[in-house]
Symmetry: C2
Subunit: 380 residues, 2 copies
């Protein structure tokens, strides 16, 4: 048990985190039921059981000192009896996996969440939507990610088509005139706290597509985002990592400002770029918190970076079903400083299969090169 | 077999290489008999058998496309029948693991190896040493690393104490007035070749202690070393990675120059710093060659770097037998941009257990900070 860390979830984020823990000389046990997951095919000590199997969880927790998770969409109830070992805490997990609790927490903290209304299970969501006013967005309270469980309601026809039931009920949100999206990852232990630089995130069909560093937003807004993220981390009593996603845009009041979108209490896909751009990556930061090593500080590499996600579509374009890609295009793109494929066996459309990082003189230029490189990959 | 790479050897070098192969979406199978090795405790797909077990080797090679090794001190004979899959080739392995063949090759190529004489098995090494002249160094032809199998002969008493037999016979070398040691890692596939920057290596008791980048040698000497390393790589028909170790110093003729010391056809401990200092690490370079991905080019990070090795003694000083270290000292050394522990269970004196990397404004300053950081680690 001593010197062993547990990770609930064995996707690409769990894999990268485990490698950071490796480097601190600790052992890692992964709890992941998918035998084809990035961790299962690469790592020793993977326990292939369901999150609801309390006996297996008991065994897992008895073999580990501290335990973290690579997704907030895991059942919290079976974890209650092991709460003392969880980093971040079970309270943080419960707030961030439940949109209703999350909105309540953010509203109480007055950090400007998007204007919203909670529609509990059993209440009539269609009537609630009409009362809230169109256009709006209906999101399921539980289980949504990458746009799953979300519906944009523009017209009465959309409202009439909206399913009545959603996991945990619904949250209705105003539609923003969006300028852009940013995220801030903060790390916190008992005596230290630090904020990673602000990332600009470009989503396509609700899935993170590109992350830019530096973000193309004014310095004051970046400072405001960092301050807000740290304020949330303190208020929630964070030990561990917390990613705060923000919108920059105009709501129904027409004033452009910063809105808190949602919280992810874990390493985040928008933070991949920290592996190249920062002396301490997001994975290193959480690994240090889990193993009691001081966080220290983050030094930035010069230059601008763009992380581009590689979805299943790229494999399909190459006539491949999974595994590696043809990377011949790399020879024409010296600005691509990293390619990281997750080794997933099945390249489904919209599935995150890998990412790459471009280094350039500006964020615009990096984004341009990233788009060109990804296009070149699909033409093989 | 498709999309699977094999590594013979599962130490820290094998582990870091495997992680680079992971990132290209390929699977990796490790062949390593030590169940406590860095790979065995961390990775899936480790085959725990001896290098002499031809049936198990057959199984291993049948499951992999290309195979490389993390040490040249492995028996070559059992690999003969699988030679077509080996990268680098079996010829490169045989030359670099046999000091007599290596010296012969370097002499023929006229790249200035240290003045030497080969003493075959059965010949009288003591007489040969007297004829070669003292002082000299006797090195076993096979199996030596980290100073193992080496004897410095200063006096007739040393000669009289020298064992008569050594694995594969002996090589006698002149003693140089050493200024410093450098290494150059070169990578080569069918159409591309590249040389990593020159590293300056400081050894303590024959074990690599610190690596500095940039090396504190004139630019002309660095160019000469790169040119020589590439010349050797071409002459040996290299596909893969080759580390060439050089001495800078004066031999019996009293003229300061560059001497080729020895060849290691693999990723090398002096190349750890490429993970921080270069856009493409030595592990990435070999991973790309093994998986058919273009090498591209290497961009350098600004600043100076020092890699410091962590031997078993540091664990002993902390009253630990293996695994993690107390890293509290990190908070006082923001210049330490990486700590990489290998997770070895048993911290023997002289055993490489981990390393760290310091980034500073100059090589001197980086070395100074590295010494101070390591000292601070021992005082916990």
């Amino acid at each position: 048990m001593k010197d062993t860390v547990g990770i609930l979830g064995g996707g690409q984020l769990g894999l990268m985190l485990a490698q950071a823990i490796d480097r601190l000389g600790f052992d890692t046990i992964i709890y992941e039921s998918d035998g084809q997951s990035p961790c299962a095919t690469r790592r020793a000590q993977v326990m292939p059981f369901l999150f609801t199997d309390v006996n297996k969880l008991k065994d897992f927790f008895s073999r580990t000192q501290h335990v973290t998770f690579d997704s907030e969409n895991i059942p919290a109830a079976p974890l209650q009896q092991f709460a003392g070992q969880l980093i971040p805490s079970i309270e943080v997990l419960e707030i961030s996996q439940d949109r209703a609790k999350e909105k309540q927490f953010l509203s109480k903290l007055q950090v400007n969440p998007v204007m919203h209304v909670v529609v509990p299970v059993g209440a009539n969501v269609r009537e609630a939507a009409r009362a809230f006013g169109l256009p709006c967005i209906a999101k399921s309270v539980l289980g949504g990610y990458d746009g799953k469980g979300q519906f944009r309601l523009q017209s009465e026809a959309d409202v009439a088509r909206l399913p009545l039931d959603a996991a945990g009920g619904w949250v209705l949100e105003e539609v923003l005139a969006l300028s852009l999206e940013i995220s801030c990852i903060v790390a916190r232990n008992e005596t230290e706290e630090l904020a990673f630089p602000i990332f600009e995130n470009i989503h396509t069909q609700h899935i993170l597509d590109f992350t830019l560093l530096p973000a193309r937003v004014p310095a004051e807004l970046q400072t405001q985002a960092k301050t807000t993220a740290l304020q949330i981390a303190r208020a929630i009593g964070l030990k561990g990592l917390l990613t705060v996603e923000f919108f920059v845009g105009r709501g129904r009041d027409g004033i452009e400002k910063l809105f808190v979108n949602e919280l992810a209490p874990r390493v985040h896909n928008s933070g991949h770029v920290t592996l190249q751009a920062c002396s301490l990556s997001q994975f290193d930061a959480l690994a240090r918190i889990l193993t009691g090593v001081p966080l220290g500080h983050i030094a930035m590499s010069p230059g601008a970076f763009c992380m581009g996600q590689l979805l299943g579509e790229v494999w399909a374009a190459q006539g491949r079903t999974g595994g590696p890609l043809n990377l011949e295009a790399l020879q024409f793109f010296p600005q691509v400083v990293d390619v990281f494929l997750y080794g997933k066996r099945e390249a489904r459309p919209g599935r995150k299969m890998g990412h790459f990082v471009v280094k350039e003189v500006s964020a615009e230029k990096a984004l341009e090169v990233a788009r060109a490189f990804r296009l070149a990959l699909t033409q093989h």
